[in-house]
Structures are given as structure tokens and as C-alpha cells.
Symmetry: C2
Subunit: 253 residues, 2 copies
């Protein structure tokens, strides 16, 4: 039997890996990478290579790189994602069939945690359901940017006895603005927070968390929104990519 590991590597520094992830890395024969095109690519590859250099068994593993397919032009967000996943499933099944021998262990390194806003787990299950390849698989959790955001701002995610929501700018739009209470918004990069600047919300914002470019801003969203939107725009223009995340929290008297 072949084995596939989905290893959460945290937000971007080797220190965020767990011992479980490090032990798993050492058992891997083949690391698979789907490369996206675009600026910032080299830096993301560098972070990943730093992790392998520090923890993987250099005498054992090899890396196989394939090109990530372009996002489908299908109508509608969900249909587009579905098509894109289908394209990726074909590529990943091919990698497992061609590059992994029986008894070997392959792995994908996943930013943050495999359970959170990453398609790989869904694609892997789809490959198995459709019989495109045969293998066992395991998921290894990693520190999410949600947690890194809270730790760096030294804030709680929940308030006493309360709840919190993890969402995306697109999903947040379905909530009436005056009902946003305590929401972590991931993968923004277009300053969607500015839409809520008329609300009594505090924002705890972070970009490039866990890397040397980490930036933290917090305070009254009303006051901060214009400058923060400009800061995000500039960061994205300069580096070519922006990973940002923030908590919107309604102020209480």
C-alpha cells in the first residue's frame, strides 16, 4: 500500500511545526509540490525548502514538482472551484501513480492546517472516491494563522462564554453588517474590512504572520480602515502577494 501525508506546516516559520509533523517529515520518501505561477513564488518555495532542510531526512527524500493548473473560468465561484479541484485531482492522482512506489510515503506540505481553507484534503478524498489512485492517507494538524494572529496580538479568540466565527470576505458578506460580533476573516487581500468601517468594531490585523515581514495593526476600525487599506495595497504591490488575516470584534460598553 502507498501512503500519503497531508502535513500542516503552520504559517511560515520552521519553529511553528509540531513534533508530530517533524517526525512525519522524516518518514517521507517523496514530497509533492504543485507550483503556482506569479510573483512571490520564490519566497514561498524558500520557506518550504528551509523546513525540509531543517527537518526532513536528506538521505531519503526527493521532491517532485508539478505545475498547478490555472483557475477554471467556469461561471460562479463554487463551479469554478469544483473544476479547478477536478484538474488538480487528475494531476495529483498521476503523481501518486507514477512517482510513488508501493510501500512508500508521499506528502504534501500544507500552509497552516490541512482542515482550513485548503483544497488538498477534498481533492485527495475525491481521487479515492473516483478510484483514480489507491493509497491510505493521514492528516497532521498545523498551527493556523488564526492562532498566530491571536498569539501575536495577545488576545483571546472567544470572549467569556462566547463564540467566534472563522470566515472569508465572500462568506462574511452574507452576514448583515450589524450582526458581525466576533469574526476572524481569512484570505482577504482586497481590504474587504473597509466595508464595515461604519460599524462599532475593533480590528486586529496581521500580515505575513510568522515571517520576517510580519506586520500587526489593531484598534478602532472606523479610524484605521483607510490607512490599513492603503497599507495592504502597498504591501501587495511591493511583495507581489499578501497573506493577511484579521479579527473583527464588536465593541461593548
Amino acid at each position: 500500500m502507498k501512503k500519503l501525508l497531508l502535513i500542516g506546516i503552520g504559517p511560515g516559520h520552521p519553529d511553528y511545526l509540531t513534533m508530530q509533523a517533524i517526525k512525519a517529515l522524516r518518514t517521507v520518501d517523496v514530497f509533492f509540490f504543485l507550483e503556482k505561477e506569479g510573483r512571490g513564488k520564490e519566497e514561498l518555495i524558500q520557506i518550504r525548502n528551509d523546513i525540509l532542510a531543517e527537518y526532513a531526512d536528506s538521505g531519503r527524500y526527493r521532491s517532485v514538482v508539478a505545475k498547478s493548473p490555472p483557475r477554471s473560468a467556469a461561471q460562479g465561484y463554487e463551479a469554478g472551484v469544483r473544476d479547478w479541484y477536478d484538474d488538480k485531482a487528475a494531476i495529483i492522482a498521476g503523481l501518486i501513480n507514477d512517482e510513488l512506489a508501493d510501500g512508500q510515503t508521499g506528502a504534501f506540505l500544507i500552509w497552516g492546517d490541512p482542515a482550513l481553507y485548503d483544497g488538498t484534503l477534498t481533492i485527495v478524498q475525491d481521487i479515492l472516491a473516483r478510484g483514480l489512485a489507491a493509497f491510505d492517507y493521514e492528516v497532521i494538524p498545523g498551527i493556523t494563522s488564526v492562532q498566530t494572529l491571536a498569539a501575536r496580538h495577545r488576545i483571546m479568540l472567544n470572549r467569556v462564554g462566547g463564540e467566534f466565527t472563522v470566515t472569508t470576505p465572500r462568506a462574511l458578506e452574507r452576514t448583515p453588517a450589524d450582526q458581525i460580533d466576533n469574526a476572524v476573516v481569512m484570505l482577504d487581500s482586497n481590504a474587504a474590512f473597509a466595508r464595515y468601517a461604519d460599524q462599532d468594531l475593533d480590528i486586529y490585523w496581521g500580515a505575513y504572520l510568522g515571517t520576517r515581514d510580519e506586520t500587526l495593526v489593531s484598534g478602532d476600525l472606523k479610524t484605521l480602515a483607510p490607512d490599513l487599506a492603503e497599507k495592504a495595497r502597498q504591501a501587495r504591490a511591493e511583495k507581489g502577494w499578501l497573506f493577511d488575516i484579521y479579527l473583527l470584534r464588536r465593541r461593548k460598553d
Copy 2:
């Protein structure tokens, strides 16, 4: 200056610690523990001591144990928690003032992640705000049981383009049952999921995650609720404590 670390240790196995947490453990002079009374205490102490034995610097650190104050009998949940936090603040401030010398580093080990349903961070900030002790502090994230639940069931927390909520049984009660869509419920132990057995929900349940007693159950809540409530009751009766967590997810056609 004194330094205090709040170190997330994950759900209960040394392998879940991050390298960041392990490096931090090695800098600690004094570990502080607030002991709760009750059954299961020995097992929780054992897990913690395993972590210190494996990763802390045995030539350097000492442990200081204080008794955790009893939960206040004040009226109302939030007032009760506030009183309880006040009592703990007095004890923790005393520990920092009496047991930690200038230039030394103290630490609390926090189950899961310090940002999630744990009072220590709030209490520490309260101590500083009230001037009960002077120190700098840092938060180190840990793998939460939310993530461990998802990894062990090999499920995503979010659906494509969707959101999820992390909540408690008490907070969940404020949501109309037919509006529960994708909610992780923490710290139940009283089988509150049974209240929602008339809904079209799947449940992904886990207890004692990351320990040798780990138990996983998943499927249609309607079918599973009675047996699962009994299983939870038995586990709590046998071990004297139950850490369980589950995801309730509305079924889609």
C-alpha cells in the same frame, strides 16, 4: 524585568508541541501550576510531567504548585467567572511576586491554545492592568482540540467558500436549532448534542483526543445521539472527567 510565558501544549501528547513551544520550555526557570481538585487530576498531571520530562531543561527549572480556587457561587454565569478570575488573579500575582526573581522566566502550560476557552491570558492582563505584579508576557500558540478533531476524522472545518463557528453548548443555545450549519462545540461533557437530534445534522465527535483513550464517532446525529450520550456518560463516570468536542454539520442534498 520578569517574563511570563503562556505556552500552548496542544490536546495532550508531547508530539503535539511545536518547536516554538519546545524552545520556550527550555528557557523557563519556574513552571506555575494551579491544581484543580477532583478525579482525573493525577492523569492530567502525568501528561504535563511527561511533557516537562521530554522537553524542559531539568537542570534549570523548578515547579511551583498552588491550589486553584473553587468556582465562585455568585449569581449568573458571567459574574461567577469574573469572581473566579479575580480569585485566580490574586493567587497568580502572588506567585509572580514571591517565586520569580528579576530576570527570570515563568510559564503556564495551557491545554490546547492560550487563545481558546482558557482564562489565563485574561487573568494575566487583569493583573497588569491592576498593577498587582510587573512583568512582560508572551503567548505561544498550540494545536487546539478543534484541529485534532478535524485531523483524526480527516474532515475540513470549512466547506468550500463557507464559514464555521467555534462555540460552547451554552452559547450554541442562543442560535435557533434550524440555523446551526457548521459549528464546533467545545467542552460539552453533558451530551448537549442530544438537543439537536431532530435536525438534519451529521456529528463528528471525539473524546480524549491525542491521548491513548481517544474515541471517535461520526454519522447521522438522529441515529447516533442516544448511544453517543450514553457513551459520553459512561466515559465520564469511569475516568472521572471527559474532554469531548464535536462538529455539527448540516447535511446538504
